[in-house]
Each structure stands twice: as C-alpha cells, then as structure tokens.
Symmetry: D2
Subunit: 349 residues, 4 copies
C-alpha cells in the first residue's frame, strides 16, 4: 500500500462483533476501509457486505487472508478457528486484530507467540479493548504516577444482565473473567500466578447445576491479590467496576453515573448501561483507529500475542479451579526473546 | 428548678410539629419532660397528653405559660397566635422555643425583639432547625475556615413532593423560603437587602392562578446573590439543597444520597427522603437537646428573636415582590443595644 | 466530488480551535482531509500546514474559499471576519462549519439567514458542539420522552478556572453564556424572550470594575425560566452543569465524576476536567464526523444559521442587560420561509 | 427502681470507649445516669468521675456490679476481664451492655450463653453498634423486603487510617473483622460456616512480618459468600463499606459522601470520616438509648449473648485461618432452648 491509500481490511466472522467492527471501520475509522467480508454463514456475509460499500464476500477465510486487496485482517470468527486464521495472517506477515480469545488453548496460543517471534515483528493484536477505555487509561496512569503507592489489592465486579441459557462456568471464565485477567496485567504490570474459584449459592435464574455468581480470587507473581465477582444473570445491567487499593490510597472506575434524575415516587439515580457495546463503544472505536494507524505502518498498537497467551493460561487455570475447588497455579512457558515484559504500572515491592 | 431536676416544658399547639416535639422531649431529650399540653382543639390535646406520661392538658395557653409546673415553653401553635404567646413567656421571663414564624408580621416580630431587649436576657429561640443539621454546620464551618474564599453566590433548591391545595405563593414564601432566608443569614453572616421573585410557567399540578414553582433572587447587604428555587408540588420527594460558591471553591450540601441500589430494569440510585421530619430529624433532636440544656440555665442556644424578626422582614419583602414583579428592598429597624450582629461566616469584602 | 472521494476542507483561522479542528479532521474524521490552511498570521498557517499532510497554505481567505481543491470550509477565524467569510461560502454554495459566533452582530447574522434562504439549501452550520455531547443528547431525549413532564426551570453553571485579563462582561456573555443560550434552545425547543443580568460582589481575582461572577436569568417565549451562573475566574476547573426541572422530575448533567479516589489525608473525590477541549472532545469529534458526512451530501447536520442568529440576538440583549440592570426583551426578525422552527423537546403548555 | 426513676448505671472501664459511653449517658441519653465509675487505673476513674455529675468511683469492679445504686452495667474494660464481669452481672440478674468481644474465647462466651439461659431472661447485650446505624438498618430492611431477591454475595471493606504498632493479624480479626461478622449475621440472618484468609503483599507501613491488608472470605451455612478486605494502615480515613448482591439487585452502604466541594487545583470530593466514633456516633447514641429503655424494663434490646458467642467462634476460626492458610470451618455449640435463632433477613434458598 502507498502512504496515501486506505488500509484494506478483511473481516473474518461478521456476527455481532464482526459486523460492529466492519461498520465502525466503514463509518468512523480514518485511513481504512473494509474490502473483504467472510463468514461461515453465507447469508450473514452477504447481509454485512451489502451494507459495507466497497466490500465483497470471500467465502473461504484463508482465501480472504491471502487476497490481493487485503492489507490487514480483523478476526471475529468463533474462537475455535482463531488458531489457524491467525497463523495464516502471520504466514503472510500482515497485521491482525484478533478478538479474544487468541486461541482456545494455552498451548495453541503459545504456538502463535512462537510463530510471531519467528517472524520477528509484532503483527498480532488481541482485542482487549478495555486498554483503550478512558477510565482504564486514567487508572493505569494514576497507578503509574505512584500517587496510590504500591497497589496491593484489586476488587473487580463483572455483571451482565442476562446471557444465553448455555452460558456455563467455563464460558464465564473464558468470555468474561478473561477481560479482568487482562485488566489486572495491564494495571498491575505483572503476571497472574494462581487462581481460586469460590462458588456461592447460585441465583435461582441459573439453570440447575450452574455456578452463577462465582467469586474468583487471583494472585499475582509478586503477591498482590484480586477479587473478581462474576455474575452474569443479574437482570440489572452491564456493570464493570474496578477498585485498586494501594498503600497510599484507592481508586475506583466504572461507577457509570452520568445523567442524574429525580423521579416521581421519590427516587434519585440514573440508568445503568445496558450493553457492553454501549459501555465500551469509545474503547472499541479508539482501539480500531489506533490499530489501523499502526497497521498502515506494518505493526500493531495494543496488547499482543503474549498478552493473549497469558490470558489463555490464566483462564485455563481458572477453569481447572472451578472443578477442583482448589487454588490452581498458573504456569507460563518462557517468553521468547524480543517479547516485551508487561509494562509495569508501578515499581513492585 | 434545682440543678438536678428536669426542665418542665409546656407544649402549646400539638398538631404534627408540637406532637413531634412532645414525643421527642419525652423519649429522647435528656433533662426535660413535658408537664403541660395545650391545643385549641381539645381532643388533639387529650390524645397527645394520653401518650405523654406525666403531662396534663391545660386548655388555656396563657394559663399553661403561667403554670407552676412549667419552666419553659415550646410554641407550635398557629403562627397568628405566636405574638401574644411569646410575649406572655417574656412576661414570665421563661425560655421559649417558638416554631417559625416568630410572628406573622415584621412589626409584631420587632415588638418581640424590643420586649426581649427590655428583659435584658436572651429567652426567645426561633425554630430554624437547619442550624443544627450536621451538613449546614459543616458548611458554615467550611465557609468560616476561609477555604472557599469569600462566598459570592448561593444556589438553593427547596422542593416538596406535595402540599395542601390552598398552599399559595405567600405560604411558599413564609413557610418554605423562610428557611432559606435564615440559612443565608446563618451561612453568610449578614442581612438580606432585597428580594426579587420570578414566576415561571406553573406546573399543571398547581391550582389555576397559583405560581409554583417560583424563582426567588435574594441580595445581601454586601452584594452577594442567592438564587432559591421553590417548588412545592413536584411529586418527587423532599429536596433541600444548597451550593455556596466562593472565590476559591464551592460546596454543596443536601445531596441526600446514602444507600445506593442497582435494580432490575437497569437503574442505579436510591430513595429521596420523603418528608421533612425524616430529613431533619437529627436537626430537630439536637435543637431540642441544646435548647433544653440552655433553658435549664435560663437562656437559649440558637437563633434568637432578632433572627426571627429579620426573617419576617425578608419574607414580607418577598411577598411584596411576588405581587409587584419588581426587586423589593428589605428595611430593618435598628438593632437594640445588646442584640448581637449576625456571626460572620467569613470576613466580607 | 465523487462518492468515493474525501471531502476536501479549507480551515480558515488555525489558532487553538482551528488547529484542533485541522488535526481532528486529519487523524480521526472519516471521509475528509484538510487541503487548505489559512490564517492572518503567516507563521501560524505555516506551522499548522506543516503538520497537516496534504495541506497547503492559502494566505487569502476568500481565495481559499474559492479554491478548486476545496469542497467545504471550517471557519475558526476571529468573529469579526465571520460575516464576509460565511457569505463567500454561501456565494459558492458549499457547506461551512462556522465556530460561534455566527457573526458579531444580530443584524449581520440575520443577513446570513436571509442569504442562505435565498440559496434555498442548508449550508451554514454553527459550532455549538454541546448538541453532540452524549449527556446533552441524553438529556434532550429524556425531556422529549415526556418522563420529566413539562420542563419549567433550568439551572446552568458555567465556570472557567481562568481567562485572559481582558475577558470582560461582554465576552462572558458572547463567548460563554452563548453556549447556554443554544443549550436552552436545544433542550427546550423554543426561543428566549428576555434576559436579566444580576451582578453580585465580584471575585477579588477579577480586575477592578469587572463583573465576575454574574447571574443571568433567561425567560423563554412560553414562560420557562433559566438561571445561569457565569463565573470565569474560579481557579478550580472547567465546570459546565445543567439541571432541568420538570413537572414530574428533574435531571442533571455535567456532574463530571468518573474516577473516584480516596487519598492520604482523608479525601474522597476526583479530578475536575481542566479544559473545555478535554470536556467536550467527544462532542467536537462527533460534530466534525457528522458535519463531514452531511457535507459530502451537500448539506449540514447540526445547528444552522437561524440558531446562530437567535443566539446572537439573545447575547445582544444580554449585553444590554449587563449595562441597564434591567430585564431586556429579545426581538427576533421573522423566520424566512423554509427555515425550520426549533425542534420542540416536549409539547409546551 | 420505680417507673419514674432514672436507670442507675455503672461503667466498668472508662478508657476511650467507656468514657465516651459515660459522657453519652450523662448528656444525651434519656432515663439513665451514671452513678458508678470503675477502672483498673485509679487516675482514669477519678478523671472521668470528675466530669460525670452524680458519679462516684468504685475501685473494685465486682463491688461496682453489686452496688445498691446500680441497676445496670456497661462493660468497656479490657476483653480479658469481660468473662467474669458479665457472669457477675448475670449472677445479680441485672442488664449489661458489654463491648465486644463478649469474652476472648469462644468457650467462655458459650459459658455466658449457658449462664444466661439458666437465668431464663435476656440480660446480656453485646456492643455491636452497627445494628443501630441508620444505613445498616435500611440495608437490612431492604434485604428483608425481598426487593434484592435472595442475597448471594456480600463485599465488605474495613479500612482504618492507622493503628498502634502492635496491632497484628489476630487483632485485625478480633477487633475489626468481628464487626463484619456480626453485620453478616445481622444482614443475612444466618450463621457463618467457614473462614478463609488470604494474605496479599503487605503495605510497607506495616511492621516486618505483619499481614496488612488481608482478604477474609466467609461462607454462610446456606452457602452465601462474603469478601472482607481488612486494611488498617491506609493513612486515608475510616472507611466501612458494604455491598450486598442479590438475585434481583444490589445495594451499597458506607459511601460516606455528604458535603461535596470543588476546590482550587481542580478537585471535586469531600472529607472521609476520620474516626470510628465520628462515623458511628449516631449508632452508639441510639444503641445506648434503646438499651436504657429496655434495661428499665429489665431486659435488653439488641444483639445478645448468642450473637457475642457466634462472633467469637467465627473470629477463632479466622485466627486459625490466618495461620493455616486454609479454609477453616466454624463449629457452633448447640443453641440452648429459648435462645432465638438469628432473625432471617429474607427467606433463604
């Protein structure tokens, strides 16, 4: 591509997230356009292509990755095909933005890390969009400033109003807690060392035998402790809240209180953001713009393959912990030369 | 009375407020008991006396004031009889706590000021209970500390959920705005010099021809400006909020947000205090305890006759301003020797 | 221009605001690029052009407006040259986004309204960016939903931490209050009928003879009342807050409380947005994207020439009211055929 | 005592808490007076007696309990002497208000339960004052109303600005966490079944080898889970916060935000209550008034001996859990006939 030209993007998987990314690139992201749309359901691909000016459908994802009019790839397909799709992008050495999970297994995620290391250039970005949310960015800067002192504890809340009936403990870990895992690594700048999962009495709204809510306790390598309440059938709204407690103060984000109303019947308050796309729309928008800006220069600008691998490894331990009821250690493979260590939010003790 | 003995209190007028005071003295105020209950409705007096151990009914208020077993008087009778009841207490030289208004006319209020000045001792306290509310006390201390700099503006909100149908503009000024008038004098430590009343489109819930809400603009002697929204048929709750804006910062009280809930349907927030007795219960309790403590020593501990007179004079100007649509100046009679000037919250410019 | 091509934009005046717009269009707005930069200070134009890939300097603004590689114009030059620059754009019948004020006089603003009416197409958008702020949008939707009932009162706060020394009452009206004037029209959907300005004791931080803060009281045609505190030397932060009080409830925006900290020394709270570009960055971004999208179709998408004229007329009354100390009526010229009436937020009484 | 007479109270131990109780009874509690003051430090007893009109010093606590002019006893002496002092009160069959802990051992606490059961009347109240705090009362009522649905999780925060240097993990459990233990039992209406303690990296402000903060995870008999952060050297303020998460909503108390300031330098926020006596002054006052009212009728009105015993048993498990690093079950002795089960806040699953 020339300097002036738009980045030509293929979007693999155009269900809710992929269609959202295609629309965002088309209408709000500078310097990129969607040229190829792919989905394993043909009608879905056709529908999204029809409302994406300049885009054509390519039924085979690997053909899409190799197409001449494709400079970079957004992967929003089902997690189980991520592995080979990401490897195909690496094979062609083009930038990719892969929705989480990077792959569905820690082992295959590590293969991606190794494959990228062999290429010798950062090409794989993982869609941990919270890193682009203004509040997370401010919180990280506050921690890094040292004003809170050494952060010792974090308390996270992740609540969904509702989920599909089959959303079980494993999905709660891999689809929801995974975001907190990355947030911990982003905010504290170190790896997670162990996971324990405690299963309270379940809500009557969960199917028989399901564990909802759960309390996940994560410990970092240096000994910091994080509590994470994951509760996905609250009926209330989409609530993501994080409190970091440092030696010299604490900070909370996700209070999500903007318009304040007083209403007949004597209530003060406001509306809780109902959906994650509404809560994190700005984050997704910024993520895409910055990824496009970087991809035009042949690289990425955000969490990379190692971040995807580390999250996978922690989630795998989390899934084991749901079963065992015990504290499960997290084992990470060696970091290949050239892969940066997590940026430290603040000097650890 | 001896040092050990309880202060024996007569309560004149035992409608809602008087009955509340009688119950508070009986159950929660140290060093006092109600010995006499009076009301112009005999059955009301009987009912309250029946639930006030040790209290008897005295049908004539002046007989009650003069009774041997009465050391001090609480006046919660209709405003139009306050004048002669307060004078009768002054005549006997016993402490009195008079619900606002001190009297219904600025002229008669000034007569009380003069009568008390002749006695030469502070005996008349007016029931501006907000001076005992913890938040008002903190706000006054904050202003006095100088941390906000010179206070230049105040914004007040006074909203009731509902009022009786006949509650008109004059009552809005004399029963509701009067509290803000005293709050201004308490917080800013100076007199009000002029009042303007602006009448927006009225709520459809107000009777034809009534002005509800109104916007009252008050100016102090030194030139500070206060806005006061008075809106008494909101259907929402009892909201009293005050923001003071100084040269170096601002402060707001009355946010009234304690228990925070998240509820099905996606709302955050809480309950607005429904009634003024709930909102200001602590203030009334502290007011009574401190008045009793002072009365046992033969004096008062709170806003005095001059404060009642000044509020009456400002409200009279306010009532004129509703009619005239113009800025109405407040004229105050000379302050008798020995009557303290308002305590200044902060040095004025 | 063809469907595919970017909108080619000339930016007239590239001081702080114009440079911000040029940078935003260049880096974050889809479908547009800056081709021409103009400023009456040559070095300023050169500096901005140098960091705007693809842009050249055109020293004469009218030559810029007429340039072949210009499809639309952003005017961020000093207010006094807006009149002739906007007319030149209308002459060429290309879309323009003009920073407020539309012009410096109500009469010249009305000339723009008439000139546009003659063209017969909406081409002039005025930079009242608050209409694109998510909270203002939500508040307007809430009012329009009828949930608050008929809105009777509004309370606005507009505080700046600091301004240049020469920022006087007229500038406070024309540069700051003007935003509230448009917000009133946007939220309540009707014109302002009268303005009164009350001048409290001034802050010691204001130059001798300056009136800061001021209290502006605005009345709408239907009789609603708005208070606006304008205080531009608070030393605190950039605070813009609006409360709308309706028959059935109230709503407040601008609370500006996101990250909540607890800090050593015993304080809870957070940081107030320091600058208006930070507070309204999203609003400006959305404003530009939507204007570009509309301009590519040959029109605008936001407040138009009439809105600019109406704001000018209200501000002119406001400036008179500062002088006179009286209530000053607002007189509007007839609305040309085809100019839409303000969209009503809710049915008026 | 006769109906009219004040309850004559002996206060055993008049360090900070006992002196506070003596002053509160003397100045603010209706129907009681302090007649006897006792402390193992003679000068302390003398100093408090000197400012307590009508009180004399009795050097021997058991003599104080048996004194003719003592109708009821407040025990605020060191925990290690509570056991025999409470038993002496039971021996005389007079009401007692005992500061926590009831006794220092679960076994001795159970002896008190049994001794009271033999008397056959509720005489022993334990000073869990939070049960009288307006917010806890509201939260319990909200849970009991069923509006939150079945409460599944609780998150508690207990932070002190500073503690004496020797304040170790055991004291953190027994002096601080004990309040949350009672709050759990009060709010959820069931017993605690197990305790786990997780020890994060300690604050640099803690002495070498101390565990501060700690994360305590408590499980109830029915399977609800409670997280409790206990952090006693934050340097910030006294923060006690509780969130209950139910099937249909959540509720948080302890936000502790009243006066809201905006200050030079661009901060919004307010002051965190610095000391527990300030935070819970109302709770202590109400606790004492209600205990006095009940004691005059020969009984108590608040948490009883069983509540003290249950808290002791949970804390003992907590202290074991600090050591073991494991989940420690709580074993409770049988509840004697006539001892009420915990009032259920809401029907358990």
């Amino acid at each position: 591509m020339t300097d002036d030209a738009d980045l030509r993007v293929a979007v693999l998987g155009v269900g809710m997230m992929g269609a959202y990314h295609a629309a965002t690139v088309t209408s709000r992201v500078k310097g990129a356009r969607v040229t190829v749309v792919n989905d394993f359901v043909a009608t879905t691909a056709d529908r999204v292509a029809a409302r994406t000016p300049g885009a054509r459908v390519v039924p085979d994802p690997f053909e899409a990755i190799r197409a001449d009019d494709v400079d970079a790839v957004i992967i929003a397909s089902p997690g189980k095909v991520h592995h080979e799709q990401v490897l195909a992008c690496l094979d062609r050495q083009i930038p990719v933005l892969c929705e989480k999970p990077l792959t569905t297994q820690a082992t295959t995620s590590y293969e991606v890390v190794q494959a990228e290391a062999e290429v010798g250039r950062s090409l794989v970005q993982v869609g941990f969009m919270r890193r682009f949310d203004p509040e997370y960015v401010q919180l990280r800067a506050l921690i890094a400033s040292g004003d809170l002192g050494n952060p010792l504890l974090m308390h996270c809340i992740h609540r969904n109003p509702t989920v599909p009936a089959h959303f079980d403990s494993q999905m709660m870990i891999e689809d929801s807690v995974v975001h907190e895992v990355d947030a911990i690594r982003f905010l504290l700048g170190e790896e997670v060392a162990a996971v324990t999962v405690i299963k309270p009495t379940a809500t009557a709204l969960a199917p028989e035998g399901f564990h909802d809510p759960m309390l996940v306790v994560l410990e970092t390598v240096s000994g910091r402790v994080v509590t994470d309440e994951i509760f996905v059938r609250t009926g209330v709204g989409y609530e993501v809240r994080t409190e970091v407690v440092g030696e010299n103060g604490s900070a909370t984000i996700g209070l999500d209180q903007s318009v304040l109303t007083k209403t007949v019947g004597g209530r003060w308050g406001g509306r809780i953001t109902a959906k994650f796309l509404e809560r994190f729309d700005t984050a997704y928008h910024v993520e895409l713009q910055r990824w496009v800006d970087a991809a035009r220069a042949g690289t990425i600008d955000g969490p990379g393959a190692w971040d995807g691998y580390a999250a996978s490894a922690v989630c795998a331990a989390g899934v084991r912990a749901v079963e065992s009821g015990r504290r499960e250690p997290v084992q990470l493979e060696p970091r290949p030369a050239g892969v940066p260590t997590p940026a430290l939010g603040v000097s650890s003790p």
